[in-house]
C-alpha cells in the first residue's frame, strides 16, 4: 500500500464502485480481454486465489495457475527467481502468495509485469486492505474520521496490521481490543503514533463497540495459548453475539476477513451490522479495479453504457 498515494487509493476505490455491476455479473465488460493473470500461490489459499481469478474472468481476461506446489517445479528446487522469470514471460500480471516475508518485493524487483502481493509470511496483504477500505467506504461514504475497533488476534493477524496503517493515513481513530498475549506489536503501535494516529489499546471489546463505526473481528487461534483453559478464559471476551449489539450505532458495520470460527455468533448474521459476506464479495471488485490500475486500463466513467448485457 505504501506504493500508492491516498489519491490513487481513492481513485481505485472509485473504479471499484463503478465496476460493481460487472463483478455481480449483471453487465459484461471485457476490459481485460486478451490479458493473462498468473496465479502463483506457494501456500494454500481459497478466497484470495479464487477472487483474483474471478476478478480477471469477469473482465474478460484469462488466468493461468501454478497449481499445487507439490506437483510443480518448486519441488524440484527451482528458485523463486527462476519461477518468476518464467511466469513473467507467460503473463501480463502476477498475483502471488508465498510463505516467506519479502517474497513479493523480491519478485517485483526482477519482474517486468506488475506483481500483486496476496500475502507473504506475516508480512503485508495489501489486496485484503484494499477490499477492507472499499467495504468501509461503501458503508460510510468516507474513510476519514471514523472510529474503527480492531479486535481479537492483533499480534499475528497480518490483515489488521496493513489495515491499521492504511486507516491511519485517512485519519481514522483506532481502538485495539485484544487479550494481552495477542496485543498489536509494540513497533506497529509506535509507528502508527508517529504517523499521527489516535490509538487506544484495551482488553474490553464490548465496552468499546457502542460508539464505533466499524468493528473488525479476527480469529483467535487455540494454538496461541498454553492450554485449553487459558484459551477459553481469554478468547471468550472476544466473541460477538446479537445480544451485544442493542446499544451500537445503527450504521455500525461488523467485518471479518474470514474464515470465522466462533468469534461472531450466527445470530449476528441476520442483523443490519453484519458485513463480512459482503466484504468477501468485495474482494472481487477491489481486485478488478486494482488489476485495471496496474495494467493501465481505464475503467470507463459510465460503465453501464459501455458494458453489454449477457
Amino acid at each position: 500500500m505504501d506504493d500508492l498515494t491516498n489519491e490513487q487509493i481513492i481513485n481505485i476505490l472509485d473504479d471499484a464502485t463503478r465496476l460493481l455491476p460487472v463483478a455481480k455479473g449483471e453487465l459484461y465488460l471485457p476490459l481485460l480481454q486478451g490479458r493473462i493473470l498468473g496465479n502463483l500461490f506457494f501456500e494454500p489459499s481459497t478466497r484470495t486465489r479464487m477472487s483474483f481469478e474471478t476478478a480477471m474472468k469477469r473482465l474478460g481476461g484469462n488466468v493461468v495457475n501454478l497449481g499445487d506446489v507439490k506437483n510443480s517445479s518448486v519441488v524440484k528446487g527451482e528458485t523463486l527467481f527462476d519461477t518468476i522469470q518464467m511466469v513473467d514471460g507467460y503473463t501480463d500480471i502476477i498475483a502471488m502468495r508465498h510463505p516467506r516475508q519479502g517474497a513479493a518485493q523480491y519478485a517485483q524487483d526482477s519482474a517486468r509485469v506488475p506483481i500483486m502481493n496476496g500475502g507473504d509470511g506475516a508480512g503485508h496483504h495489501p489486496t485484503q486492505t484494499m477490499l477492507d477500505l472499499f467495504t468501509i467506504r461503501q458503508a460510510h461514504g468516507t474513510l476519514e474520521g471514523l472510529k474503527v475497533v480492531l479486535a481479537g488476534d492483533l499480534r499475528y493477524g497480518r490483515t489488521v496490521h496493513s489495515l491499521s496503517h492504511a486507516l491511519t493515513r485517512f485519519g481514522s481513530e483506532l481502538v485495539f481490543a485484544s487479550p494481552k498475549l495477542l496485543k498489536m506489536p509494540e513497533e506497529i503501535v509506535s509507528d502508527l503514533r508517529e504517523h499521527g494516529a489516535s490509538v487506544v489499546e484495551t482488553e474490553d471489546l464490548l465496552g468499546s463497540i457502542n460508539d464505533a463505526d466499524v468493528v473488525y473481528m479476527t480469529r483467535i487461534q487455540k494454538e496461541r495459548f498454553a492450554d485449553e483453559d487459558e484459551y477459553a478464559r481469554c478468547a471468550g471476551a472476544y466473541k460477538l453475539h446479537a445480544d451485544h449489539l442493542s446499544e451500537v450505532k445503527s450504521e455500525m458495520i461488523i467485518m471479518h476477513p474470514l474464515p470465522r470460527v466462533d468469534e461472531i455468533h450466527a445470530s449476528v448474521d441476520s442483523t443490519r451490522h453484519a458485513c463480512y459476506f459482503n466484504q468477501a464479495f468485495n474482494g472481487v471488485v477491489a481486485r478488478m479495479a486494482l488489476i485495471c490500475y496496474l495494467l493501465g486500463v481505464t475503467v470507463p466513467a459510465d460503465v453501464e453504457s459501455e458494458g453489454g448485457a449477457f
Partner: protein, 158 residues
Amino acid sequence: MSNEHSMRRVTAIRNGTVIDHIPSGQALRVLEMLGIGGKSSVPVSLVMNVPSKKMGAKDIIKVEDRELTQTELDRLALVAPDAHVAIIRAYSVAEKLTINLGSEVSNVVRCTFSNCITTNHREPLPHRLKVISRAPLHIRCHYCGRPQDLDELIKNVL
C-alpha cells in the same frame, strides 16, 4: 594526551591505512568485513580498548602496504560509522577519508528476520537494507520491511 599515548602503542607505519575511532571491541569484526585475516600477507597491527577522550574507549587498526578504497570503507558504516581513516605514504598522512552511510546498505549484512526471503541462500538476490534514519540509526530490510536490531545485524556480516 590519551590519543597520542594510545597511538604510540604500535609503531608508525611507512605505507598503508590507519583506521582510528573504531568502537571498542569491533576491530576484529572490521578486519573480517574488510577481508583482512591471517591469510593476507600484509602486516596488520591492532589495538583494542584503548582510552579515548571522545569515545571512552576505542580500537585502532593499522594495515601496512595496502590502501583501502572508499567502497571498501563504506562497508564499515554499520560497525564503525565514525571511524577516521588515514592513508599513509612515506610515514605521513597523504589522504583523510571518512566512512559514508548511504541510503542503502547493499551486500554487506543479511537481514536478521528468520522468515525473510533473503534467508534462502539459493535465491540470487542482493542483500539490501534501507537506511530510514541516521540519528538514531534506523534500518529496515528492503524485502520484508522488518526493522533491524543493530547489535543482531552486525553479527550477520556476509
